[in-house]
Amino acid sequence: MSIQVLDHRNVLCPDCDLEQRLPQLVPGEKAFCSRCGHKLSESLRHGLTVPLSLAITAFVLYLIALNTPFLTMRSGNIFHVTSLTSSVVALAEQEMMPVAVLVTLTSLVIPLLQTLFLLSLLLPLQFGYAPRYLDTVYRTYHTLREWSMVDVFFLGVLVALIKLTKMAEVVPGVALWMVLLLMFILAAADRSLERERFWTTVERCRL
């Protein structure tokens, strides 16, 4: 049996499975499930250029963050400089590979992948081109969204810093500010990606 795509405006609530009609949204409006309150849809004012530009920014920020010092610990005349990848190395050295992998994935790899995915999704669309991989990339992007924990990472850094200020002086490096910025930029990029508009554009480009 075939699947028939119905009107966009009839949707199921993902949380409570209520079928309801989705009115046409004016940019700036949000639609919620009438039963359980789940946000069904949102219409954003801007197009796909915003998430794209934010994704580019995030990418540049990442490049800077990976090549600049992250935190420097100073005790007397001894300096210990760390980069974003230092945690991985240190944990791996201590035979804590699973933790090292977990930390790297959630704080570095997946957010970076998010950025790259966004770029790969939105750049072609900007030029009117909808490559084949879009579906897979979009699926992966969506699955991984939950696991991109740059914000949690930043909070962890703050807690660690406060814990250490008694012991020694910790000097923040450029990479730290990059992480802070990335936190906001990535979140903004994700939120600014309007699902419906994306797929509409995709379909248009596929024609």
Partner: protein, 534 residues
């Protein structure tokens, strides 16, 4: 689950509005890119030079982490460490800050700073916590370089360390080593920088560095001596231990002072050469570098001359006797007693003009009549020394260079003159005819005896034959007395002779006394006789 019946009308497709104006949001990535490029460019532009340093080992060095520091400030970072092709050295490449580029010169030194103990000093403890680092010192060179050979240990003298270098010379190294402290009034004012064997192998020389502000205490007349270990003196006063410092016991030490002396004190210039004496006592003696060795052949016994005996000139010690031998000259069937001695020409303080060449001076003096002579130090012991004297009457002689050292002409020492005055006394005493004196006395006494006997007889006869005999007797007595008076009286020859002898004896004793007085002042008069000018 209801189906939505009826197709919904086609809504007009959402308008595709290509935004003609450039969305402001693009500013964000533009800024980001701009900043990123700026940072990248800055990193490349400020990238400092890469230097290559070779070390014998890479202990404590980690690529990407170990720093290069100058005055403990980070000026570079090690990028790579690898072995040389022949596995003999470690090649370290370090990226230096561009700010340090002008200081990478041909005199720049690099060494690995780790915790170390040397010469009583512990240094580099901080590296136990921070890890080793490479330290550098630029030096005052003028040429830029980028390849260096790393040192194994830190240099003692580094740039910026102000002070002065001097050189000390000694026969042996003793317990002197690098970083041995140099003391002035028991305060450490410097240390030994390096040492090496002298080129001619006849001693060692050590370079010392005296720190500011103490270098002005090193004067041209300063004396340096070794204060390593400690001095233990055991004498009538008890035990005395002297040491400069605990450090000097283990690491050796050198001390110096500037004794008050003839010369006005002037600060020594850098590089001045000083002798290093073995201990304090020796430093009080004069010590000179150059020794001119000479031979002398004496035609008579040299009994009483021993190695170490002084060689004197004009009353000053100018050298010492080294050795002597008994030689047979087979050709001439002659026995010789060559004596080897040395003269230290520097003992002569030169006034005006340059330093003299000892050997040239000797030639000139020999031409003028300088000869080598043996003289007695002490009449009783018979100990001899060498005196260099001018003999104006001497025949012209030259220095012979046949032997390994120049052979100086000698004049014989007049041993007879030694006893001449004594002989005079003895001669005087001989004139006194003690035998005749004795014989006359005996005659006189026997006369007296017989006369006394006669007197007895006289008195016996007196009893019998009286006065004419008494008169005769008295007459005889008077005659006897006259005879005695003549022989023993004040005008008698005997008396006269005796008086003359006595006066001669007293004269002789006086002259002996004078002689002794004179000899005590001018002992050489024994050989030379009294100085004519007196």
């Amino acid at each position: 689950m209801s189906e939505d019946s009826g197709s919904t009308p086609d809504y007009p497709a959402a308008e595709v509005r290509r935004k003609s104006r450039f969305s402001l949001v693009w500013i964000v990535p533009i800024i980001a890119v701009f900043v990123g490029v700026l940072m990248a460019v800055q990193a490349i532009v400020t990238k400092g030079p890469l230097v290559t340093i070779t070390f014998s080992t890479a202990t404590g060095l980690i690529a990407g982490k170990t720093e290069v520091r100058y005055k403990d400030v980070m000026v570079g970072l090690i990028e790579t460490i690898h072995l040389s092709d022949d596995l003999s050295t470690v090649i370290v490449e370090a990226r230096m800050d561009s700010s340090i580029k002008p200081y990478l010169l041909n005199t720049t030194q690099f060494w690995i700073e780790t915790a170390r103990i040397s010469a009583g000093e512990i240094s580099g403890l901080g590296t136990l916590f921070s890890g080793a680092f490479i330290a550098m010192d630029p030096g005052n060179g003028k040429e830029a370089r980028s390849t260096f050979k790393g040192r194994n240990s830190p240099p003692v003298v580094t740039t910026g360390l102000s002070g002065r270098l001097f050189t000390l010379e000694a026969e042996n190294l003793g317990s002197i080593t690098v970083r041995t402290p140099v003391y002035y009034r028991q305060i450490k004012v410097g240390e030994v920088v390096s040492y090496q064997l002298r080129d001619d192998g006849k001693g060692v020389s050590a370079q010392i560095f005296i720190n500011t502000p103490y270098e002005k205490f090193v004067k041209t007349s300063s004396r340096f001596w070794n204060v390593s270990g400690f001095d233990l003196k055991l004498d009538a006063k008890g035990v005395q231990i002297n040491t400069e410092s605990l450090t000097s016991i283990f690491y050796g030490g050198i001390a110096f002072e500037t004794p008050v002396g003839f010369e006005t004190e002037s600060v020594a210039e850098a590089g001045t050469l000083f002798p290093l004496f073995r201990n304090y006592e020796k430093s009080k003696e004069e010590r000179f570098y150059n020794r001119d060795y000479y031979f002398a052949h004496f035609p008579h016994s040299i009994r009483g001359l021993e190695p170490g005996a002084s060689v004197e000139f004009l009353g000053f010690k100018v050298g010492e006797v080294v050795d002597m031998k008994l030689e047979l000259d087979v050709d001439q069937v002659q026995f010789l007693t060559p004596v080897l001695f040395y003269v230290e020409p520097e003992r002569v303080n030169v006034r005006g003009g340059n330093m003299v060449n000892g050997k040239e001076l000797m030639e000139t003096m020999v031409e003028r009549g300088l000869r080598v002579q043996l003289k007695s130090v002490n009449l009783l012991t018979g100990q001899l020394y060498i005196d260099l004297v001018f003999d104006k009457t001497a025949a012209k002689k030259e220095i012979s260079y046949d032997l390994s050292h120049p052979l100086l002409p000698t004049i014989s020492s007049d041993v007879e003159a030694l006893t001449s005055s004594v002989r005079t006394i003895l001669d005087g005493l001989k004139k006194v005819e003690f035998e005749r004196l004795g014989a006359d006395l005996e005659t006189s006494l026997s006369l007296l005896n017989s006369n006394l006997k006669k007197t007895d007889q006289l008195f016996a006869n007196l009893n019998s034959q009286t006065t004419p005999q008494l008169g005769e007797a008295l007459q005889d007595l008077r005659t006897t007395m006259d005879a005695v008076r003549i022989s023993l009286g004040p005008e008698s020859d005997l008396n006269h002779d005796a008086r003359v002898a006595l006066s001669e004896i007293s004269e002789a004793s006086r002259s002996i006394r004078l002689l002794m007085n004179y000899l005590s002042v001018h002992p050489e008069a024994l050989l030379r006789g009294k100085d004519q000018s007196e």
